[in-house]
Symmetry: C2
Subunit: 353 residues, 2 copies
C-alpha cells in the first residue's frame, strides 16, 4: 500500500514529501495509522549520514522511531491487538528471536543485529526499513507495544526511544532508594532520565552546562542541579555517585564525571558522540569504577517502561510540530532549542501536500 | 635505624646507593629484613616522575613494593608474627582504616588514600615513604602478609603487586569455569593473569603483539594465543568474551578489545598508560558492555591470593638480579626484555657497596 512520508534523498538534502510502500499485513502483523512520531537526535544523525563509519545511511531515508498510533488492520494470527487499539513502535521492528540475547528478551542486542525501524535491511521488502515520519507502518505484533487508552499520546511517543534508552540502564544498574544518581545533559534523553531517577526513588543530581536550565531541572524532579562548567560546583560531588547516566551526544570530557563516581560506580553512556572520547586509565583505577554503554531496551522492558510511566504519570515534555516544520526542528535541535522533545503531529502529513 | 638502599635523587638520575632511616618498631610494627624485592613497571614510572600529573614524585625516591623477607623484630602488641617468620609487604603500608572502603577491607581505595609503600606522605617520619629497594623495612602488622615456609621466596615477591593486581579483578568479575577470559599483554602482570585465569578454571585466551611469545603463552596456561596485530586472528573472537584483563601500560587501541566482549562483558584495565585512551561510545553500546579499572587489592584479599598461590603452586616467572643491575634492568624492562619479572636479590645490597 502506498503511504505518504517525509524522506531525505541524500545526506545533504532536507527532508521532503515522498511516497513509500508498506506491505499488506502478514498473519502476525499489525497495521498502524501513525498519530504522533517523536523526533530523536538519531533521526538527524542518520538522515545526514553522520554515523557513516558505524551505520551508513541508505537513501531514501525515512527517520522516526518514536511512533504512537491506532491499529487499522491486524493479521490473521494477531492476538495482542484489535482494530481501534492504540499501539506504539520503538527503535526495532524485528530480530532473529533465536540467539542468546534474544532469548534473554534483549532483542536490541540480537547477535544478528535487530531490524531497526529505519535504515536496516528489511527482510520483507528486500530493501531497507522506513520509519515513522509517515502515515502508516506495518509491524510484527511481537515488536508492537500496548499503549493505555488514557495516555497523552503525543507526549507518550518519545518514551519509545528517549524513555526506554534512559529507563533500561537505570533498571540494569539498580537505580533506586539510597542511590545517588547523576544525569548529564538536560535534553530529550536527560529530561526523561531525571523523571525516571526521581520516580525510582534515587537522590537525583542533574549536570548541565546551561545556567538557564537550573530551574527547569528542579521542576522536572532533580534534587540538585550542578552547572558542570564550574569546577567549584563539581568538587563537592567527588567520589560520591553510585551511577551517572551520560545523555550527551556531543563531544565532552568523561574524566570529570568519572571522578565523581564512588567505588564500583558506573558512568553509563546513552548518547553517541561521533568521535571517540579520551579516557584516562587513572580515572577508572582508584577506586575501581566502570564506564559503560547501554542501547535502548528489549521489547518486554519497553512495555514495562510504558506501564511504569502509566502508573507514575510520566510522559515527555514536548513541543508539537507539523511535519512541514521538520527541517526547522532539526536546526533548532542542533542548538538545543527544544523543551525537550519535538513530536510530529501526523495529522499534518495527511492534510498537507 | 640507618639502612642501605638504592634511590633516585631526581627524575633523570639513575638509581644509586643511598642511606635511609627506618623507625624503631612501634607496638604494632614488624621489622623485616628484606630478602627479595620485585621490580614493577610502576617503580620506573615513579622514579622518573612519569606520572607527574597524577602522582608527582618526591625525591629521593626508593621504589619497590614487592617485598619478601624475614621478621627480625616485632612490636610489643604484634600477634600475627614472631621473629624468624617469613613476611611480605605489597603496595600499601597504611590507610585510614575507618572510611567505608577501608571498612570493606578495600584499603587500596581508602577515601583518604592509602599510604603507599613508596612516595606517600609518611605519618611516622613526617617525610615520604621509602620502598623495598633496601635492607630493612618497618611496617604495621595490619599491612604485613604471611608467607608460607615452603614458598619459593624470590618468585613469590612479584605476587605482592603483579599477583594481586591481576587476581583481584578476576575475583571481582567472577572469573571461573564456563567463562571465556582474555589477557592482553604478556609481561609481568599478563603472565600472572594467564596463570590465575587458568587456575580459576576459565577458558583463557592470551593476546600479544609478539608472535615470539605464542609458545610461552601456552606454556603458562593459555588455551589459545592470538597475535593481536593480525585482524584476521581477532575476528573469530568478536562478541565472545565475558571478561578481558588489559595488562598493557603503553598506549594501545581499546576499541578492538571492547569489540570482543559479549553482552555485559567487561574490559578491565590494570595497566596505567600515561595518556588518555580514545573510547568510541559505539564500542560500549551494542551490546551493553563496560570498560573498568582496578587497582591492586585489599590486604585481606592479598593474603587470600598468597594462600591461593600456595595451594595451586603458583609463583611468578622471574629473573633474579643483583641490585647493582637495577638501571640495566629498567632499560630492559622498557624493551619488554624480561621473562617475566625482575626480582632483586637483596643479599647483593648487604654485601655490595
Amino acid at each position: 500500500m502506498s503511504t505518504k512520508a517525509f524522506a531525505a534523498q541524500s545526506a545533504t538534502s532536507p527532508l521532503a514529501p515522498a511516497s513509500i510502500t508498506r506491505r499488506e499485513p502478514l498473519p502476525t502483523d499489525v497495521q498502524i495509522d501513525i498519530l504522533y512520531c517523536g523526533v530523536c537526535h538519531s533521526d538527524l544523525h542518520q538522515a545526514r549520514d553522520e554515523w557513516h563509519n558505524y551505520a551508513p545511511t541508505t537513501f531514501p531515508c525515512v527517520p522516526g522511531h518514536e511512533i504512537v498510533g491506532r491499529v487499522t488492520k491486524v493479521g490473521t494470527r494477531v492476538t495482542k491487538f484489535k482494530v481501534g487499539d492504540f499501539a506504539a513502535v520503538g527503535c526495532m521492528v524485528d530480530s532473529c528471536q533465536s540467539c542468546p540475547n534474544c532469548a534473554k528478551r534483549l532483542e536490541q542486542y540480537c547477535h544478528q543485529f535487530p531490524t531497526f525501524t529505519y535504515n536496516s535491511p528489511d527482510k520483507h521488502s528486500g530493501s531497507h526499513t522506513l520509519g515513522g515520519y509517515s502515515e502508516q507502518i506495518v509491524v510484527d505484533e511481537a515488536f508492537t507495544l500496548k499503549v493505555s487508552d488514557k495516555a497523552n499520546l503525543a507526549a507518550t511517543a518519545p518514551l519509545l526511544c528517549a524513555g526506554i534508552t534512559t529507563y533500561s540502564p537505570m533498571r540494569h544498574w539498580k537505580v533506586g532508594p539510597g542511590k545517588k544518581v547523576g544525569i548529564v545533559g538536560l535534553g530529550g534523553l536527560g529530561h526523561m532520565g531525571v523523571k525516571f531517577a526521581k520516580a525510582l526513588g534515587a537522590q537525583v543530581v542533574l549536570f548541565t552546562t546551561s545556567p538557564g536550565k537550573v530551574a527547569d531541572g528542579k521542576r522536572l524532579g532533580a534534587h540538585e542541579v550542578v552547572v558542570s562548567s564550574d569546577p567549584n560546583a563539581m568538587t563537592p560531588h567527588l567520589h560520591s555517585f553510585d551511577f551517572i547516566l551520560d545523555c550527551v551526544s556531543a563531544e565532552h570530557d568523561l574524566n570529570s564525571y568519572l571522578a565523581l563516581l564512588k567505588l564500583d560506580g558506573t558512568l553509563c553512556l546513552v548518547g553517541a558522540p561521533e568521535k571517540p572520547l579520551p579516557v584516562a586509565a587513572f580515572s577508572l583505577l582508584l577506586p575501581r569504577k566502570s564506564l559503560a554503554g547501554s542501547g535502548i531496551g528489549g521489547i518486554a522492558e519497553t512495555q514495562e517502561m510504558l506501564d511504569f510511566c502509566d502508573q507514575h504519570g510520566i510522559v515527555s515534555d514536548i513541543e508539537l510540530i507539523p511535519i512541514q516544520k521538520i527541517n526547522e526542528a532539526y536546526s533548532r535541535l542542533l542548538k538545543g532549542d527544544v523543551k525537550y522533545r519535538f513530536v510530529i503531529d501526523m495529522a499534518s502529513l495527511k492534510s498537507g501536500g
